[in-house]
């Protein structure tokens, strides 16, 4: 079963998105220049926007299908998301931010325990009681990564999670993101316009240009466990 099937179109103003791809486990990178439609694709997968035509399936479950008028709400898609600037709630502690995303535990203490374990996994447990406003950019993104994974998601989406950080922090977090996501077993789709980042983080790179998928290829890794992508016509480009 594929982790994610996307075959959608969406027009916003003069921009036309028309993409189709399927991915399995690991990290799939949507790579391309700004304005190519990568983040729009994530918004469609998350259910924040509806496609004009086509369908989206997560783990085989249809979450959006215009033909049969299916639209599973964002809340019910079981998605984790890491935004470019974190979007941590500024009025809640780091621990509360993560605990709010925990779906699989009931009760405040149980949710906070799950949240704390995720903060430990990303090396952010030391600032669990601080407010996001007092954190550095890198610390915020660690917390955002914990929040994205804490809700036992079926899929995690990362929208340029490192682009607002300086290069040293970016390098450090690349390793962390890959390690934590791969060890969690949650399939991920990551958006970036940075070629080096795409190579280092991705198991498969899906190249975007002007609202279209122009190429898909696996990234060679020594422990190659990456997903097997297929384009709309079933071909894989190398």
């Amino acid at each position: 079963m594929t982790a994610l099937d996307v075959d959608v179109t969406r027009t916003i103003g003069e921009f036309d998105l028309d993409v189709a791809f399927s991915v399995e486990s690991g990290i799939s990178v949507l790579f391309g220049p700004s304005g190519a439609g990568k983040s729009l694709t994530l918004a469609l997968i998350a259910g924040l926007l509806r496609p004009d035509t086509g369908k989206i399936a997560i783990n085989g479950r249809i979450v959006s299908d215009r033909a049969s008028n299916v639209h599973v709400s964002t809340q019910e898609r079981r998605i984790g998301m890491v935004f470019q600037d974190g979007l941590l709630l500024p009025h809640r502690s780091v621990l509360d931010n993560v605990a709010l995303a925990v779906r699989q535990a009931s009760g405040r203490q149980a949710r906070r325990a799950v949240a704390h374990s995720w903060l430990e996994r990303v090396g952010a447990e030391d600032f669990a009681d601080r407010r996001p406003g007092s954190l550095s950019g890198g610390q915020r993104q660690r917390v955002a990564l914990a929040r994205g994974l804490a809700g036992d998601p079926a899929l995690v989406l990362l929208d340029e999670p490192l682009s607002a950080l300086d290069s040293a922090v970016r390098r450090e977090l690349r390793n962390l993101i890959r390690e934590v996501i791969i060890s969690s077993g949650v399939p991920a789709v990551l958006v970036t316009h940075d070629a080096e980042e795409a190579e280092q983080l991705g198991d498969v790179v899906i190249a975007y240009s002007d609202g279209r998928v122009t190429a898909m290829r696996d990234v060679e890794r020594p422990d190659d466990v990456g997903p097997q992508p297929e384009s709309r016509d079933g071909n894989r480009s190398q």
Partner: protein, 235 residues
């Protein structure tokens, strides 16, 4: 409230009954009015800021009309609606045993109508200014619409909302025209502005000066508090 504090104590600290009685009624009425206005104004402000339905502008304009109308006009309409013959008066008698004109409850109603637009407009603007991406992030986290409103939107808009509630309280405390018409200046419904009017009208200029100073102080405290809200950092 007057009954809770002995007059002997008020006299001993130098607060005479002709200050304390109207001040007590004003604080009591404005407090009740503000609670009602806060609940209704924040809720309607949220609906207007977040909803996507036709007629939002018309609804906001209707509820904001008291800002542009002379308070006497608002008072006149309330007097004729609450006190004149008709189903509203019948309902009042059925529910309260008497019409609400010339009563403390009537004052509260007048102050609710007069102060509602301030809470509504401040709240709507503050909620509309919340970065919608925080709400999107909360949706992705699986939070229901209610939890997003209570845990994300309203806390992020709190500065504007609190400023609106404070402005509404100030407006209710200072209302004269609508309150005067609906209360008729009966003793149990004599607020500070009406007491000041009575004092000035009947030549008690010393009392009028003191009553004016108390209201001046209250207005300063409220407005200074609102301005401080704008200067503190969000979180």
């Amino acid at each position: 409230m007057t009954a809770l504090i002995p007059h002997s104590w008020l006299n001993s600290v130098g607060i005479p009954p002709w200050v304390w009685n109207p001040l007590s009624i004003s604080l009591h009425a404005a407090g009740e009015a503000t609670i009602i206005v806060a609940i209704g104004g924040i809720a309607l402000g949220y609906i207007l800021a977040q909803g996507h339905f036709p007629g939002r502008g018309v609804i906001e304009t209707i509820f904001s009309m008291p800002m542009a109308l002379p308070p006497t006009v608002v008072g006149y309409y309330l007097l004729t609606r609450l006190g004149g013959p008709g189903p509203i008066r019948t309902a009042e008698v059925h529910l309260f045993g008497h019409p609400l004109t010339f009563t403390f409850t009537g004052i509260v109603i007048a102050q609710v109508v007069e102060s509602f637009p301030y809470c509504l407009r401040f709240s709507r603007a503050a909620i509309a200014n919340v970065d919608p991406r925080f709400e999107q992030a909360a949706r992705v986290m699986g939070l229901s619409r209610w939890r997003i409103a209570l845990l994300v939107t309203l806390p992020l808009a709190r500065r504007g909302i609190v400023a609106g509630v404070a402005m509404a309280f100030g407006r209710a405390l200072g209302d004269f025209g609508a309150t005067m018409i609906i209360s008729g200046s009966v003793p149990m419904a004599t607020t500070m502005p009406i007491a000041l009017y009575n004092a000035a009208f009947f030549g008690s200029h010393d009392q009028a000066m003191v009553l004016a100073l108390v209201q001046l102080g209250a207005a300063f405290v409220i407005l200074y508090g609102v301005s401080r809200l704008g200067k503190i950092r969000a979180w």
